[in-house]
Symmetry: C2
Subunit: 709 residues, 2 copies
């Protein structure tokens, strides 16, 4: 059979960001997202003024829809004109002036500063939300190390404790040394085995084809392909006693060491990619916010699942290790405070509907790309929208600005906040737009979204000009079309939007090379990544225009039929697979297909309903918008995915076998993967998962019906 992952998967969105969205919105069982109604779908040329108001009894309301539409266009232009790239640069310079690692004084200072900026910008309410959480830190006085030891135990080589500074901005005394958070402390000694990317397939290949057993050995794996935490879990499954992770030049310096940072964006041999190997979320207060008075689990009762020491090193060090090595990890667990800043502009018609803009502010080191290029942009948007508010130009719905703490070590700040406000968010949130980093490389704009949010994203991209005036492509949307012709293929992601300019297409590399190293400095960003800040400004414009659109449009502009279409595509392929290659009971597939057809029918009816709605009938508009908000929620199953109860979305989730990969219908696709790998007991589960999908799609169809029972 074909590879299901490949057939149905979204294009590969970028790692950490993907996890952000999943964890903020899904891991907590929450749908912060929902939608509205179609404006754009029957007109590709004009992104506004699409549903013509019909039969508006002029005596009924004093709301003028046409005037509203015109004002909206003006507002987009005014927002775009006011966004200032020099402010973004100045924010970025300020934010990246010190290391900003979660739980440190430095990051708390920055949080206070951001909150004050947002207050000065005139938001209605700005609040710092602290949570007392568990963190994993490296011991700075007794650093982690990898050593080559002689038989008498004397080390003949020791890995570097810190990365050598390569620009002025990087000369900081308090940089957190390279480590993998949540790896336990331990000293292990043993033969070293190279395990390539540390995927299940790599370990199987070693065992089956090369007869290499990693039991009681230390394994060395290169970064890439799958989430680093899954590499360590795989090593544990195969009974290794320790893991060394390194950035392979083949992925991070593909032209050889002759031209690395500070001369290019390629990683020098002294650079080390930090990163968490733990699970995301909330170890001590799962499902509840870590308020001061919260009840906390004992550490030995948590789900921390990394049991063997693990340490990242640079490739300059990695080449020294051939056989017998000693790995010393001195990480320790401690309680720290992680803070978010939440800023609010209250909507003037429907204050109880939220559009959220989010980004984290904690960095492994200086974080000039990840995340502070995003944070600097977000703050500039608060300035522009705060100014509008002070001039009494408020959006219809409430806009919520969020800058998250503790993201790098497991999305801690966003998880705690969502846990705290889960119930109101579930009922009221309309959309969440995340921009972890504005620009990583100038090549193409990348954005991922739920099928329902594709239209507003396209429409916003059609408004924002291409920063390059010499290009034949006039708007961001045009640049997109250059490398991603057709629609529906580029955007196929959760019910939220993730935007950034990225390097994706030129090299097939796991991330931008300096990712999570000490070399993500302001100097690096301003000499290599986006010296003009023109591209960062374009992302700022897209983010702001899209947010305003979602917050201020009378009727949501989402296209229900895109969802029906995506599901039908999946069903068709699945039916072929089941029909010809799988022996599963056919009644399941027939029922699944029928539910899917019902959804298509419901989507069409709903569309016709929208065409006939009077846009000035505020109650009818609210009812329609509510219905669209409910649609996405119907895809949540409170029971969660098999063996992964925190993942609630039936249509999209990270793969069970690599949390950096997406699956459509993960319950079905993951189970088929297990069956392919000879886990026969999964047949029953597969049938059950097909039923869950059927039931969920039918529920979605019901939710579009005026009555629904």
């Amino acid at each position: 059979m074909t590879n299901f992952n490949a057939s149905f998967m979204a294009f590969p969105l970028q790692k950490q960001q993907k996890r952000t969205i999943y964890m903020v919105l899904v891991a907590t069982g929450l749908v912060c997202l929902s939608l509205g109604v179609i404006i754009g779908w029957f007109s590709n040329n004009n992104s506004r003024d699409i549903i013509s108001p019909k039969d508006i009894p002029s005596n009924q309301m004093n709301f003028d829809y046409k005037e509203h539409q015109r004002q909206m266009g003006d507002t987009f232009q005014s927002i775009m004109n006011d966004l200032n790239k020099d402010n973004i640069r100045s924010n970025l310079k300020n934010y990246t002036s010190k290391q900003r690692f979660a739980g440190t004084e430095n990051v708390m200072d920055m949080v206070k500063h951001i909150a004050q900026q947002w207050r000065d910008h005139g938001l209605d309410k700005v609040e710092i939300t602290p949570y007392e959480v568990l963190m994993s830190y490296p011991n700075t006085t007794n650093p982690n190390r990898v050593e080559i030891v002689m038989t008498d135990g004397v080390p003949v080589f020791t890995s570097a404790f810190v990365e050598k500074a390569l620009d002025e901005d990087g000369k900081q005394s308090d940089i957190i040394p390279p480590y993998n958070s949540w790896a336990p402390a331990g000293v292990v000694e043993g033969e070293l085995v190279y395990v390539n990317y540390g995927q299940i397939e790599d370990f199987m290949f070693l065992k089956n084809n090369l007869s290499i057993d990693v039991t009681n050995k230390i394994v060395i794996a290169r970064y890439g392909k799958i989430f680093r935490g899954d590499k360590v879990l795989n090593a544990q499954r195969f009974n290794a006693i320790g893991v060394i992770l390194y950035t392979d030049p083949a992925n991070y310096d593909i032209y050889g060491t002759s031209n690395t940072y500070p001369n290019s964006w390629w990683m020098p041999d002294t650079g080390v990619q930090r990163g968490t190997v733990g699970a995301d979320g909330d170890y001590l207060t799962p499902f509840y916010p870590a308020k001061e008075y919260a009840h906390r689990l004992a550490v030995n009762k948590t789900t921390i699942n990394i049991k063997i020491p693990c340490q990242p090193i640079g490739y300059g060090d990695a080449i020294h290790f051939l056989r017998k090595v000693k790995l010393t990890v001195n990480n320790y667990l401690t309680m720290v405070t992680v803070e978010n800043v939440i800023g609010i502009i209250t909507g003037n018609v429907e204050p109880d509907r939220y559009v959220l803009l989010g980004n984290h502010h904690d960095a492994w080191v200086l974080g000039a790309i990840d995340p502070l290029s995003g944070t600097a942009t977000l703050t500039e948007i608060t300035r522009v929208m705060g100014k509008m508010k002070q001039a009494d130009i408020r959006p219809r719905r409430t806009i919520v600005f969020c800058t998250w703490g503790g993201e790098e070590v497991g999305l801690i700040g966003s998880t705690e906040w969502v846990e705290e406000y889960m119930k109101v968010l579930y009922e009221r949130a309309v959309a969440y737009i995340n921009v972890d980093y504005a620009v990583a490389y100038i090549d193409n704009l990348v954005a991922g979204t739920s099928p329902l949010l594709q239209d507003p994203l396209y429409q916003a991209a059609k408004i924002v000009p291409n920063p390059d005036p010499t290009s034949p492509y006039k708007t961001l949307y045009d640049i997109w079309n250059k490398t991603s012709p057709g629609d529906g293929t580029v955007f196929f992601f959760l019910f939220s939007i993730q935007i950034y300019v990225i390097f994706q297409n030129k090299w097939d590399i796991p991330s931008y090379p300096l990712y999570h190293s000490a070399y993500e400095t302001f100097h690096m960003f301003t000499t290599i990544i986006d010296p003009s800040f023109n591209y960062t400004l374009a992302v700022a414009r897209l983010w702001a225009v899209l947010a305003w659109k979602l917050a201020d449009e009378t009727v949501f502009s989402f296209d229900v039929r895109r969802y029906a279409k995506s599901i039908n595509d999946f069903i068709t392929t699945l039916k072929d697979e089941f029909g010809y290659e799988w022996q599963i009971n056919n009644v399941n597939i027939v029922a699944l297909e029928s539910a899917s057809n019902n959804l298509t029918l419901a989507a069409d009816n709903f569309h016709n309903h929208i065409l006939n709605i009077n846009q000035n009938d505020l109650l009818a508009v609210r009812m329609l918008n509510d219905k669209m908000m409910q649609l996405e929620r119907t895809f949540l199953d409170p029971e969660g995915l098999p063996g992964r109860p925190i993942y609630k979305h039936v249509m999209f989730a990270p793969s069970k076998f690599d949390s950096y990969t997406d699956n459509s219908f993960p319950g079905i696709v993951d189970t088929m993967f297990e069956i392919q790998h000879n886990n026969a007991s999964s047949w029953d589960l597969l049938k059950q998962q097909v039923y869950v999908a059927t039931y969920t799609i039918q529920s979605a169809a019901n939710s579009l019906d005026p009555i629904g029972l």
Copy 2:
């Protein structure tokens, strides 16, 4: 310390009905209930026209609130006048003419008939919803029995296989013989031990005070005090091998056998109370509807937890058993179809908001009280409201009539239907009003409800006249006040309403005596229970008026502050308990108190907000009503109660130790009960549950805020 159950508990609502509400609405993780806004609270004298519309710009809308209020009053009168007790009598006669046990042809015939009646009454849509489910049946050719055996194994006495018919209506050939559904088949022989009510306390008393060990013995327990299934589970815990349940004359014939049915409502010695001993809900397709194509668990993978045989007998038989007995149970499991009838009248302003009226139709035998007195009433309401609809008088919101199948053996039909429509119900249901039996004895009206639904219930009761024209009490509300002075004490139950006229106060007996026996005949009902049908008519009126009120009022008339007050009362008592007798960390209680004060404050603010709302502003009204609908949902915790994940409501649930008893804050109260019984490991859980309550109350406060973040 004081008894928490007694301090905070609701008044004891009737058994099976309570379970109906819990299971329909809670066990499935669903809140079918929600609410609206206060009308009644600052005026006790006038139940309508309470929020005077203010500043209505007459040119803004063509909706006239005052005219709407006047029409509503007229409508209540017209509904009450049209409800006809002769129709109810005729429905009851028809429905009770045969046994109506779940899964039998008889009940399917009746379902078809009801559906046809409802269609004839003009509802917009009437549908039969079949589910293929597992059932436990007695073997009619090889009946269950209890025997006294000699040492050579020869039986010298055998319990009756059937109940002797005592009136013409009871002479039926196909009555399901007495049994306890979900008890497994088995033949056990051993000494008999009398265990009183079979409560934990009874077994502890036998063990500790009388040194009686029930290991390998058959126990005989009388009905009453706790749910019969919990008696069997207790017997299992103490290693008994079989259970005999009987109706003790001390509870069911308190004046002695001289004057039993058919001369009075007391149970004759030949009568046997049937009943399920299994858990409610859904064994084969938990959390999903049992559609034809559903995936089903293997029986050995289900949560069926009754492991030893169990059989009910009459007290005429029970007196024969003294020591060594043989218990033969031949129950078997089989798949059957269980059907509901769902009838809909579509609302003309907000069709996507539902008020549900529910009742089951399956009976252990003829079911003249339980449930067909309720079903006969419900059908009469469909006639009256169907007629109104045909005259173009529709309610603002949709009304849904539900008659459930398979209730007696575990609330099967309602559970499956709620599972099927969980997602739309969760978003759209406003209230659920259940009337399992209209009248059980003429003494007082009993109704239980969530604090938020108290006001509309009071208001409806003030409109319905007392059926007894000679009484000094003019309305149902006045009768209530006779025995239940004050407010807040009588009604303190889930977020739904349960109504019936009952015997409760005169005798302290577990249920009406003929409950679940073959003697619940039409003859019995019309000679003993309510010969005039005047009281049944009064319940019909209350049910219909309340439903119309909830479905047609512009602004919901619920009083948020009642909830805040109930919680504050609990907190105060809890704080005293914790402060003086418990050593728990005080910070928890302070936080709980503070959350509770926030809720009180939010309730007050919300109240002020309502006073200022323009009732003609349809969008504002919808937003306010939505907020009230959300309030009750915030009390749902997706994690469920400790060890009982299907129970989601943090404020109300059946006790963990007796599913017939309610607890307020069951997570806290049940854990305190365990600690009292020396389960020291529960201390940590108690702190956690106090935190969950704190968090939930704070979420409720947030949900009342215009923004909420």
